[in-house]
């Protein structure tokens, strides 16, 4: 009798725990699917071919698109990555390969703090550092703001990826009579390039969706612009401007923009993860 009771009690506990964990897992999925569904329904219905090929039309006129904002987002992200990737990866190398140094320990803390800075604060910082001295909103300021968003992510992922390379690999390289820098570049790093790329893509996809850092740096633009010293449109800012406008047409455009932005970021993320799993398969690590 005692035994039966105990077994029942144990099974009940087990079941309760299963329900709890499964419930939480589903609870996480609900908002994600709701967002995707919402944007999909609203956005896809407002999406036309014109959206990709046309510039915005004045209020009251039908049609128009966000060609300039799509191009702008791509330009800003490339600019940001051009700044953040070389610095971020090298910094990650330093943190991983020279982890014993005192600077390395302090730097790690700084990077952790940096990733916690609200993006609006980064926007203000870029505004003060670039926009004010140059006396103009500019793509350059936007790119710098985005690069500051990307930096901690790139540094962190690079460091983690390189730290996963076991020490005996480094020792094997050193024991061959290779100088340390060659061991780092051609033995440690070489095997991890695709992994590093994944980290970079994740950082880029994060920055591509940011609005706050761009609000008063790249500012936005209703026309096509390519100049680094001119304000540049971007999808998030354009969506923001259109979404809070009172015009129904513009709001529809904002939905379409949200849809495009989401698809862009999701596909970048999926692509990165796809590469990652492929590499892992090839290496035989699960």
């Amino acid at each position: 009798m005692m035994k039966l009771n105990y077994r029942l009690y144990r099974k009940t506990k087990n079941f309760a725990f299963l329900v709890l964990t499964l419930g939480s897992a589903i609870a996480v999925l609900i908002p994600l699917f709701m967002i995707i569904q919402f944007v999909l329904v609203q956005g896809a219905s407002s999406l036309t071919l014109d959206f990709f090929t046309e510039l915005p039309k004045p209020v009251g006129e039908l049609g128009g698109g966000m060609k300039h904002a799509i191009v702008g987002t791509i330009c800003l992200v490339i600019l940001g990555a051009a700044i953040a990737v070389p610095i971020g990866v090298t910094c990650g190398i330093y943190l991983s390969e020279f982890r014993k140094s005192k600077l390395s320990k302090n730097l790690k803390l700084t990077v952790d703090l940096m990733s916690g800075i609200p993006s609006i604060v980064i926007g203000i910082f870029a505004y003060l550092m670039v926009v004010v001295p140059l006396k103009s909103f500019s793509a350059l300021a936007g790119g710098i703001a985005l690069s500051i968003i990307m930096l901690p992510i790139i540094i962190k992922t690079s460091e983690e990826i390189l730290k996963l390379v076991p020490d005996h690999i480094r020792e094997a390289g050193l024991a061959l009579g290779l100088p340390r820098w060659k061991v780092i570049l051609f033995v440690v790093l070489k095997g991890e390039i695709s992994n590093l790329l994944t980290g970079i893509i994740l950082a880029i996809s994060r920055a591509a969706g940011e609005t706050a850092p761009l609000l008063f740096t790249a500012f936005g633009n209703m026309y096509m612009s390519y100049g680094l010293n001119q304000p540049m449109a971007s999808l998030p800012v354009q969506i923001y401007t259109y979404a809070i406008s009172p015009y129904k047409e513009w709001q529809k455009q904002a939905w379409a923009g949200a849809f495009v932005l989401m698809v862009l970021i999701l596909s970048m993320n999926l692509f990165a993860r796809y590469i990652l799993t492929k590499i892992k398969d090839k290496k035989g690590i699960s």
């Binding site: 690999i169 480094r170 094997a172 050193l174 024991a175 070489k190 095997g191």
Partner: protein
């Protein structure tokens, strides 16, 4: 019995000591190694044999808090001298580790020639030639000649270890250190590696740490017995294993402790 007294001394340790932080792992070892011999180091776990071996190519100092004292003379030149380039030392004293560690994401061929390639040798025919001769010396050529471009990590454990030996031989170091190279391998793979050691002995001096006393007796010309960071006894393997001078050596090789 071969007479080694006339063989040239290639490597000498003089009062070599090593620490991890405050812990002294190696307590003043003085010994010399003759050219083209196999020298075994035996002793119970934690007796400092691996640390000692890692001092001989200055890889010990890569560990945080590690330091050394004393001298190691390679062909008469102290490798711990400030004027000596550590990279050059390691090029002349190769090392094979306990766990097979081929470079991941590199092909078998790349694994073997990476040392040469990063020294600036890029001529494909030279690299291929070296790869073949080293893989042959490591008794691996026949097993991999048709798949040189597959990943080094795709090989079996025993093959990986032989690949690591080929990689170490490719930079052509006169001295090769082996840190329990067969402890992770099965008897067949072990036999292959022992066989190849007898081959490479013709060109190289080998210093091998091993836990396997039969192995030491089988393959080595000289044996040192280490205990608590000291070298208790060093001599011809034939003497050490049949007629040890020290009581603790006898106890260890007869299996009474360790």
């Amino acid at each position: 019995m071969t007479d080694y007294n006339h063989a040239k001394i290639i490597l000498e340790a003089k009062k070599l000591e090593a620490w991890f932080g405050d812990f002294q792992a190696v307590k003043g070892i003085t010994v010399d190694y003759r050219e083209k011999t196999i020298n075994a180091i035996i002793g119970p776990s934690g007796c400092g044999k691996s640390t000692y071996l890692r001092c001989l190519n200055r890889i010990h100092e890569e560990i945080e808090g590690a330091r050394t004292a004393g001298e190691v003379l390679l062909e008469g030149e102290n490798i711990y001298d400030k004027k000596v380039d550590v990279v050059d030392v390691r090029r002349r004293i190769g090392m094979v580790f306990q766990k097979p560690n081929p470079f991941p994401s590199m092909s078998i061929l790349d694994n073997v020639v990476i040392g040469l390639r990063l020294q600036g040798i890029s001529k494909r025919s030279t690299l291929l030639e070296t790869a073949e001769s080293c893989l042959r010396k490591a008794a691996l050529w026949d097993e991999v000649k048709d798949k040189l471009s597959s990943m080094g990590t795709s090989l079996s454990g025993g093959q990986q270890q032989r690949l690591c030996i080929a990689r170490a031989l490719a930079v052509n170091p006169p001295v090769l250190l082996m840190d329990e190279p067969t402890s992770a391998l099965d008897p067949i793979a072990t036999a292959k590696i022992e066989e190849l050691m007898n081959e490479i002995k013709k060109d190289y001096t080998v210093i091998i740490v091993t836990h396997n006393m039969q192995q030491a007796a089988r393959i080595s010309d000289f044996t040192s017995f280490f205990h608590y960071g000291n070298m208790v006894e060093h001599g011809m393997s034939s003497n050490i294993f049949t007629n040890p001078k020290e009581k603790s050596t006898e106890d260890y090789i007869s299996g009474r402790f360790g």
